[in-house]
């Protein structure tokens, strides 16, 4: 039990660091990497709880999250390349056309 809460606290810390990164950085590739960090923090929660409860469903979810992350990486990086071709920059502040 104590072991489980250590894992959950670590996962919360990693998730918060990822949140700060998404909000604070201007480079969209680094923002993307921070989103990957948040996904991984959630994966750690899934595996820790799956181990604690003796049930493999959480680990199957982690497998699906990894698949979605791989698809997201492919589409996201293609979008960054298209963005760079249009604006000659990968700064999130340059994508302000729809900003209120």
């Amino acid at each position: 039990m104590d072991n489980l809460s250590n894992y959950l606290i670590l996962s919360a810390v990693l998730f918060s660091i990822g949140t700060i990164g998404v909000l604070v950085r201007r480079n969209i590739i680094v923002m993307f990497m921070c989103i990957e960090l948040m996904l991984n923090a959630v994966n750690l929660t899934f595996v820790a709880l799956s181990r604690h409860l003796g049930n493999l469903d959480g680990q199957v979810f982690v497998f699906f999250i990894m698949t979605v992350a791989a698809a997201e990486a492919a589409v996201g990086l293609a979008m960054f390349i298209a963005f760079f071709n249009n604006r000659e920059s990968i700064d999130a502040d340059d994508a302000s056309l729809m900003k209120w």
């Binding site: 810390v13 949140t19 909000l23 680094v30 680990q59 791989a70 492919a74």
Partner: protein, 170 residues
């Protein structure tokens, strides 16, 4: 303190420090390398949690495939680390929101209680049958529909990536 607690402490310190480096490094390549280190730490945790298959695909898919893609894109775009250009914005607000997230998660952890129902998959069974076989048995029976839908998702991602990366859409 037993050896697994000491090992957990060391690896978690490495994971948190490298996660902080992802956020604070100015050069995206340094951020990417720190993120790979974080992923290896997470793979170590999966191995400690009796999930060797998860540890293997964490290294192969995340630290391998996805990070290679990211590093490749950074190199392809050839972004020069511009010294007089700011690489951060909204720092105080971002840190406040991050701390609020952490406190919310902490309050859930402090007030909630995880059920202690013992499941069927004990470390003994994992050692006897094998983790990969157990995962496969669950995935191809109970989760067969999500598994098939995932293939459509991947197809859509392939087509989308190819179309988006074309230089002029005509």
């Amino acid at each position: 303190m037993d050896i697994s607690t000491i090992f957990f402490t060391i690896v978690s310190v490495v994971a948190v420090v490298s996660a902080l480096l992802v956020v604070t490094c100015k050069n995206p390549i340094n951020s990417a390398l720190s993120l790979i280190l974080t992923f290896f730490c997470l793979a170590t945790f999966y191995a400690m949690l009796e999930a060797p298959f998860m540890a293997a695909i964490q290294v192969i898919v995340y630290a391998g495939a996805i990070m290679v893609l990211i590093v490749f894109t950074i190199m392809l775009l050839n972004i020069r680390a511009d010294a007089n250009k700011k690489s951060f914005h909204n720092v105080p607000l971002g840190i406040v929101v991050g701390i609020i997230t952490l406190l919310t998660a902490g309050s859930f952890l402090a007030r909630g209680k995880v059920s202690d129902l013992p499941g069927q998959i004990t470390p003994n069974i994992i050692h006897q049958v094998g983790h990969t076989e157990l995962i496969g048995a669950v995935m191809f029976t109970e989760f067969i529909l999500p598994f098939e839908i995932t293939s459509i998702l991947l197809l859509a991602a392939i087509v989308g990536a190819v179309i988006l990366a074309k230089r002029n859409l005509s």
